[in-house]
Symmetry: C2
Subunit: 348 residues, 2 copies
């Protein structure tokens, strides 16, 4: 039968020293003889001592917890993000509290405030499209796109788009339809810009904004992609895998073979992107790296903050480079059908 949770004084009593010494020994801050420190660590370990978060938080004013706020927690990317952040935070000694800003923009602020009330030391925000984070009295790391002011760390969406654009251009496509979500999203605008740059001036690239389409036709209405193919479009570059699979199935259902008759590409490399048929050519973010940088930036600010003081500076500004995206070359993108025969007229 275990006794109650051991605390500092339990260790202190066991060794006949003062709690202060134990605290110093374990934190390595004060002056303790290395011999005694060793013994203290030993007994602490053998007693199964684990510091009380509450006690420490109360005294130091730091909770050791980071908040994570996403525009829409239902975002299919959330698992990847959450996992990466949790991992990075855990490695840095922080816990991660989730905050949901379901729905409207004000909710985002609400969620942030709730997290602050809970005493988080810092917040990682992936902002709702078109939102600027107000200056709250708490360190904030923003993950968006490098172009966003106040951004802390992000994937290089522009360069990613550019690479994808080049990929399609090299395959010979000359008329591409970009399937975008919301024109308010900085990320999406960057991706569009990059795509256009990569496609170059000779390639026609129209954009279909799904948000507008949804307003006009309804959220689940067909996108009319078969008609686009008849008008000469040979590749569909979706700005998210979610849209890409939507496009892919719509084309397939219309009897248009992918990639034989039309190519489809996506962004994000969501979990199912590799198992569908044809598997999806897409761009993957290095969430691990992004999370690591975001957490590091936050931790740096938090740790050299005068303790009780409420920081006036809101957003953490990091001068780190944008994290490159990785092109996942798979089966959904292929040569432009017109050029197909010229290259190799195999498997029809």
């Amino acid at each position: 039968m275990k006794s109650e949770k051991p605390n500092l004084s339990a260790i202190a009593q066991a060794l006949g020293v003062s709690v202060a010494t134990v605290s110093n020994a374990l934190s390595g801050k004060g002056r303790v003889s290395s011999e005694l420190a060793e013994r203290i660590r030993d007994t602490a370990h053998s007693l199964g001592y684990v510091p009380s978060v509450a006690g420490r938080a109360l005294r130091t004013g730091r909770s050791g917890v980071l908040g994570l706020v996403l525009p829409d927690i239902a975002n299919p990317l959330f698992p990847q993000i959450a996992q990466a952040i949790e991992h990075a935070a855990s490695a840095a000694g922080y816990g991660v509290l989730i905050g949901d800003s379901r729905g409207a923009v004000e909710q985002q602020t609400q969620a942030i405030l709730r997290l602050i009330d809970r005493g988080v030391d810092g917040i990682i925000i992936i902002p709702r499209r078109g939102t600027r984070i107000a200056d709250i009295g708490c360190p904030v790391a923003v993950i968006d796109t490098p172009a966003t002011p106040g951004n802390t760390v992000a994937s290089d969406h522009w360069a990613g788009g550019e690479e994808m654009g080049r990929h399609l251009r090299v395959l010979g496509h000359r008329s591409v339809l970009i399937l975008a979500g919301s024109a308010l999203s900085n990320v999406q605008n960057d991706r569009v810009g990059g795509l256009r740059a990569g496609l170059g001036p000779d390639v026609r690239a129209d954009v279909l904004w799904l948000e507008r389409h949804a307003e006009a036709e309804g959220a689940e209405a067909p996108l009319g992609l078969a008609a686009r193919v008849r008008q000469g479009v040979t590749a569909f570059a979706a700005l998210s895998d979610l849209t890409a699979v939507r496009a892919l199935t719509e084309l397939q259902a219309a009897g248009i073979a992918v990639p034989a008759a039309a190519s489809v590409t996506g962004f994000d490399d969501l979990i199912w992107s590799s198992v569908i048929t044809p598997s999806l050519t897409t761009l993957r973010m290095d969430m691990g790296e992004i999370a690591r940088q975001a957490v590091q930036a936050l931790a740096a600010v938090i740790e050299d903050l005068p303790h009780g003081q409420v920081t006036a500076l809101g957003t953490v500004v990091a001068e780190r480079a944008a994290v490159p995206m990785k092109l996942m070359l798979r089966q959904s993108s292929g040569p432009c059908p017109a050029e197909r025969e010229l290259l190799n007229g195999d498997e029809q």
Copy 2:
């Protein structure tokens, strides 16, 4: 310029009363004249008082935080779950700390221990397939399937499967292939059982276990569904939308029209299920209700726990009924092709 964060004594000083009275007034526990209580609440509000989680946690031994552990945080269902739990927890006054048990089974225990060390009051676990939760000294709510021992709350996967089975049988299908993931998953076994029951004895229902298939052929290998169709299978009942979209695209790519030539159904109603073509007939869990029940069960145990005492009882046992699933009837399921002409020989 705001002063420092107001605490109880700030309010007490402002009104010339003792902190204890303020605490009592705000918590409504002690005996305070209603008139004074009113004034206290007013000034508390006008000063923007928000209780210190750390102080309270230290004193009461309760952190007001629940841990959320999922077998695989990368699970595409995670967003829904996390959002629902966060919502329910928030409504009940709790925060949600995420714990990631990425990978192996031991990690699950690791994650749980980390959460406990962080001082969570209780943990919600969606266990890794085939895992039993060891008795940890902390209230736990398990979300799995009603058949699991120690289960707290769950969807009625069996009844859901049964409904889907009936749906397919009524449509005239007589040979169905069930696409399952792992035979170790209680949830999946329940779904298979339900499906078979719903399909009845006259319908042939084979099961393709993807886990075995992946071991034999590789994770991304085609499932060979076209061959199955040639062998007479007219419907594919996937145990998750992830698998369903995999099957759907494989069939489409093979030139098999869905639902004209074969039906496909799923489970989970993931975010993209309604926008693909054809939109997916699937079963949706009532995550909101499940989360609410799980949080309630936890909160109940937590709140009448003798305060400092470490609970010996591990799992929370709730006698609640399984939460029903909801059949989302969409376009991917249709009449059995053989009977199609008999019913109505329209479009295509």
